[in-house]
Amino acid sequence: MEKVFTDDNFGTDVLKSAIPVLVDFWAPWCGPCRSMAPVIEEVATEAEGKMKVGKMNVDENMDTPGKYSVMSIPTFIIFKGGEVVDRFVGSMTKEEVLKKVESHY
């Protein structure tokens, strides 16, 4: 299941997570974000137990995107032990996302 991350829960749910975390920075007005939503949902199911997957709405949460210099959406950042280990921007297929995700298990 996909999680919902916010500025408030980011520290505990992402940075202090026991397993790696993929954060999808998105907004409702962004077309490519909308078309990536079902892809990320499927990735969340496949990565269950190995990587936490969730989205953060940049319209409602300003601090975290600012801190990580998110200036394009969708931006995807993978965190491991509180550190950024991967980052990619824009539309891609499920296979491409999974390839990146699986390399950080």
């Binding site: 210099s69 200036m71 394009s72 539309s91």
Partner: protein, 308 residues
Amino acid sequence: MREVIIVGSGPAGWTAAVYVARANLKPLLFEGDEPGGQLMTTTDVENYPGFANGIQGPELMDVMKKQAVRFETEIISKHVVSIKKIEGGFEVATDTDTLQSKAVIVSTGASARRLGLESEKELYGKGVSACATCDGFFFKDKEVIVVGGGDSAMEESNFLTRFASKVYIVHRRDAFRASKIMQERTMKNPKIEVIWNTEVADILGVNEGRVTGVLLRDTEKDETREMKIEGVFAAIGHEPNTKLVEGLLDLDEKKYIKTIPGTSKTNIPGMFACGDVQDAIYRQAVTAAGSGCMAALDAERYLAEQGD
């Protein structure tokens, strides 16, 4: 073997799907890695007939998809990596699957052209953006440049003034090729300033990890100067997505698929092309949709003839 596979999910692809599905040919459509195509990064679409008050690009693509789904188009959200001619049809492959069909409709569209600078790649997502509607939000009260002189450059510039304090349009010529209505809208906007006869020679800020400025070159005097800026948006046209069919289909000198005039037929019987991938001239949502209909009807006729 399936009857028809459609590759691409813009207005051409979805229209082809609606027609193929209604002919009971059970289309399978691959959405590709930019689902919905160029309209997904467009805001107001004011010239698509049937929407008196205009419609948002992603919204339009959403209803087109729904219409295709209503007639039972099967959709696979994957990117096609190869198409091969086989006995009696074609083999269409993604990274994970291989499917066969008697006919293929190519509607892979066109993608935004990049400036082609190394710094542009490095700073992509860090101040360099290919989508003003997605990323304008991050440039509140900042100064940005838009590179280009066509309708999309005008549209993006006007859109960006909702957020940015100032938008500079950098254009390498001394006149725009955009439509009159878009030019007027742009020239009237007090937040927009045009820098004529100039191109972007480099984007600065690779070491800082974010765009800090650009190096501009005057195309007349061949002089360069630096300019401080926080965002760079390129709107310098599009390139047809024809890598997939290179070597298989005849392409023109600009790499668009060649079709027999007045039809969607390519040089290979059973393969049809529609939308921006075969249209270097009109490139409108409505012409793409129209040619999608043509491809579906051409494919339907082709299959009927094969069955005889």
